[in-house]
Amino acid sequence: MLNEVTIRIGGESGEGTISGGDILALAAARWGYHVYTFRTFPAEILGGPCLFQVRISDQPVKSMGDYADVLICLNQEAYDRNISDLRHGGVLIYDPSDFTPEASDHIIYAIPFNELARKEVQLYQTKNMVMLGAISGLFGPPLEAITQVVESKLSRSRKSNPILMEKNMLALEIAKKYVTEQLSKRDPYRLGTVEKADRVVLNGNQAVVAGALAAHCGFFSGYPITPASDIMEAMAKELPQVGGTFLQAEDEIAALAAVLGASFGGVRAMTATSGPGFSLMTELIGYASMAEIPAVIVDAQRAGPSTGMPTKMEQSDLSFALNAGHGDTPRMVVAPADVADCYRLMILAFNMAERYQIPVIFLSDQSLTARVESVDRNVFKPMEIMERIKFSENGANGHNEAVGVGAAEHSYPRYAYTASGISPITAPGPGALTYVATGLEHDEYGHPNYEPEDHTAMMEKRFRKLATAAEELPKPQRYGDEDATIGIIGWGSTEGTIQEAVDRARAKGYKVAALHPKILSPLPDRAIRDFIRSVKTVIVPECNYSGQLANLLGAKYGLQAIRVNKFGGIPFTAGEILRAIEEVS
C-alpha cells in the first residue's frame, strides 16, 4: 500500500468538480497529509472543461506530479482530454452511463455516480459527494475527515437547508458502501493513518493577503481581474478590521494612482492585478519610480498576450515587469515560488518598497494563485517590519503643531543625494516639513530642474538604491550537488518542480544543482555568476515562449543557456525537467 496518491478529477465547470476536489484536499491535509493541488477551469462562469488534481503524500510535496495515479472522468470529454496523463497501471474511474473507455492497461472501476445521486440519494447535485464517498472508500481519507470539512464548509447553508446537508452525508455514505461492497480493490493506493502535524492549508492568493496584512498594509485599491480578484475581495473584507481602508477603482490606472496617493500620505499601500491591468499601470510605475513613492504591485501572471487565457498559467511578464515604463526607471521585482513565499515575500516586498521608496512588483502566477498547499504553520509568524527613513531636522518630528511657514524654513531636501541613494522622507501630518512630489525631473528640493548635471546626479541617485538593496537583500541558496556539472536556473512558481527533478536526477547519479533567485531586480549578480561558473551547462526552464530569464541572463552574464520553454498554459512537471537534464548529460 502506498501512502502517496495523485488524484485527478475531470469534469464540467459548474458541476462541483473543483469544490469536490477542494474538499478532498482539505480533508487529506487535516488528516495529516501533505497536499499540493493544481486546477484549470474555463474563464466562463458555467460550462467548459475543468480539472482538479491533488497530490497527497506523507512526505512534503514539491510539484503537482508527472502523472495522475487515479483519474476520475465525469464525462467523455474529460476522458478524452486526460487519459494520456494517467500513468500506466493507474486507476480509471468512470460512470458507464456517461461513456465507455477503450481497453487499456489501467485498473478500471465503473461506478454509477449519476444513478447513485439520482436514485439512491434522490438529489443530483450531490454527485460530487458521491464521487468523494467513492474516493474515500477506495483510497482514503476516511469518511469522517471528509464529513468534517463538508460540515465546516457548508455550515451556513446548513442552517437554511438542513435537507441539503443530510443529502450530502447520505451521498458520501452510499458511495462508500457501494465501492466497499460492489468493487474488488485491485490497486495499491491506500492512505494509512499518519501523525498529525501543525500545518495550515491555503492557496497562494490567500497567503498574499496574510502577508500583506502582516506587513501592515493599510490601503488597497484594485480593479477586478482574473486571477487576482480574490486578493482584492479578501482585502476589502479584512482591511477595515485592522484599521485600513479599501477602494475599488474604476480601472487599474486609478487603482495604482490611489495607491500612490495613500502611500504619499505615509500609509503602506498595494494593488493586485494581472497582465492586462498591469499594462495599464505602467505610467504610474514610472511615476512611483521618479517621485520615489513606495508601492507594492502584485501581478498574478496569466497566459498572454492581450486578454490571452485568463485562467491559464504562464511566466511571461518577467521582461515587462523588469522594464515596464518609458525612460530608465528603477523598480524592484520579487517572484514567489510557493505558498509560503507568497507570505514571506509579500512582507519583504513591503519592506523593500518602504525602505528604498520604490515600486515593488510581486510576480505571482495563475497556478500559484490557486495552488493549495499544506504549509508548516511556523512559516506564518510575525516578521520584521521595515519603515521608510523619515526626515527629521530641527523639530520636524514630534511637535503636535504646524511649523511656521516661509520658503526658507519650510522646504527640505526631499531628494537629497545620499551614498545609499535613499533620501529621508516626510509624510503630511502635524509638524512635517512639506515637499511636492513630481514626475518631472527635479533637484534635491523636489523643484522642477532640467539641468544636465541635475538629471545625471538624480538618475544615479535613484539607481544607487538598487545597488544598496543588492547588498542588503537575502541571496539565493544553491540546491543540490556542490560539484554539479549541470545547473538549472529558474524563477517563480517552478521551484518545487525543479527541485524534485534535481532530486530524481541525483538519485539516478547525475550531478545537478539549481539556483532560484526570488529577487529579480536587483538581481543577485554574485550568486548567479558564481553558480554559472560552477557548472558546465545551465538549463533555464520557463513557462513562456521567448525565454525571458534566459534572455536576461544572456544579456547580463553572457550565459548561453539551454532553454526549456513550455507555453501551453500548464506548468512543468518534474518529469519534463528531468528529461531536459538527461538530454544535456
Binding site: V200, V201, Q206, A210, L213, A214, G218, F219, S221, Q241, V242, G243, G244, T245, F246, L247, E250, D251, I253, A254, A255, A257, A258, L260, G261, A262, F264, G265, V267, A269, E283, L284, Y287, R377, F380, K381, P382, E401, A402, V403, V405, G406, A407, A408, H410, S411, P428, G429, P430, A432, L433, T434, Y435, V436, A437, T438, G439, L440, H447, P448
Partner: protein, 281 residues
C-alpha cells in the same frame, strides 16, 4: 479640515518656486484665490495636499507652500481620492485643467462624483491645450479652428457644470479667474463642504485662445435669491452657455465614502497573524 494655530497670511502659502505661466494667464488669478482661501480657512500647510495632473495649470502645487502631488496627466482625482481614503484627516485639493479632468481623466471624474469622497476640485478651464501649444480641448466650442482642427472642430462642446450636476456631485460651482475674491469664497465653501466639491473656473489662455474679453462681458452672477438645493433648476442654469453663470449652482450634504469607510474601522483591532491563520488550520 485641519487648521493652524498660528496666524498665516496669503503670502505665507506662497512657495519659493516662481509660476511658469505666460503674462496675463488666468491661472494667476486662481492661484491668488487659492492663497487667499487657504489663509482665510487657516489651512495647516503640513496637513494640506494640493494634487494636480499635467498641463499649465497642473504646475500649481509647486507654487504653494503646502504638501503637493504633481501627478500624471488626468490622474489627479484617483491620487487625491486614495490619499483622502487613507488619510481622512488631511485637506486634499485637486487642481488641473480641462484636458486633465474632461479628456484624459474624464473617466475618473464620473467615479469621483459617485463616491462623494471629501475632496475639493478646482478646474482651470481655458478651452484649449496650452502646454502643447493650442490644440482643441473638450471644452472648445464647436467649429473652433486650431492646429489640430484646421477645418474647424466637428465635436460638441463639453458642458462641465451640467455634467457634474448629472453625476450627482454634491457641490457644484463656477468661478472666473478675473474675479478672484468671489472665487476664493467659492473655494472656501468647497473646502468646508463635506463631500466632493467641483469648482469650474473660467481661466483664459492669453497666448493660444484668449477668451478674456468675451468672458469679462458675458459672465453672469447667479441671482442672489437662487435656491442651491434645486438640481433641475441648476441644470437649467448650466445649459446657458452664451452667458455663463458664476456662483454656487448646487449643494447637498450626504454621506461621504471616506467617512463611511472610517466608521467601519472604529472596531478595528491590531492584526494578529496567529489568530488570522486559525481559519486555515
Amino acid at each position: 479640515m485641519t487648521q493652524t494655530t498660528v496666524t498665516l497670511t496669503p503670502k505665507d502659502y506662497k512657495s519659493e518656486v516662481k509660476p511658469t505661466w505666460c503674462p496675463g494667464c488666468g491661472d494667476f488669478g486662481v492661484l491668488n484665490a487659492i492663497y487667499n482661501s487657504m489663509a482665510n480657512l487657516k489651512l495647516a500647510p503640513d496637513q494640506t495636499v494640493v494634487v494636480s495632473g499635467i498641463g499649465c495649470s497642473s504646475r500649481l502645487p509647486h507654487f504653494v507652500e503646502t504638501f503637493g502631488f504633481h501627478s500624471l496627466h488626468g490622474r489627479a482625482l484617483p491620487v487625491a481620492q486614495g490619499m483622502k481614503m487613507a488619510r481622512p484627516d488631511l485637506t486634499v485639493i485637486a487642481v488641473g485643467g480641462d484636458g486633465d479632468f474632461f479628456s484624459i481623466g474624464a473617466g475618473h471624474l464620473i467615479h469621483a462624483a459617485l463616491r462623494n469622497i471629501d475632496i475639493t476640485v478646482v478646474v482651470m478651464d481655458n478651452e484649449t491645450y496650452g502646454l502643447t501649444k493650442g490644440q482643441t480641448s473638450p471644452t472648445s466650442p464647436t467649429g473652433h479652428t486650431t492646429k489640430s482642427t484646421p477645418y474647424g472642430l466637428l465635436a460638441s462642446q463639453f458642458n462641465p457644470i451640467a455634467t457634474a450636476l448629472s453625476l450627482n456631485v454634491s457641490f457644484v460651482a463656477r468661478g472666473f479667474s478675473s474675479k478672484p475674491k468671489d472665487l476664493a469664497a467659492l473655494i472656501e465653501q468647497g473646502v468646508n463642504h463635506h463631500g466632493f466639491s467641483f469648482i469650474h473656473v473660467l481661466s483664459p489662455c492669453p497666448t493660444f485662445y484668449n477668451t478674456m474679453d468675451v468672458w469679462k462681458t458675458t459672465v453672469t452672477p447667479i441671482p442672489a435669491d437662487y435656491d442651491t438645493r434645486n438640481r433641475a433648476k441648476a441644470i437649467e442654469l448650466a445649459m446657458e452657455t452664451e452667458k455663463p453663470y458664476i456662483g454656487l449652482f448646487f449643494q447637498e450634504e450626504r454621506p461621504t465614502m471616506d467617512q463611511a469607510a472610517h466608521h467601519l474601522v472604529q472596531q478595528a483591532k491590531e492584526f494578529d497573524i496567529n489568530q488570522y491563520m486559525a481559519r486555515y488550520v
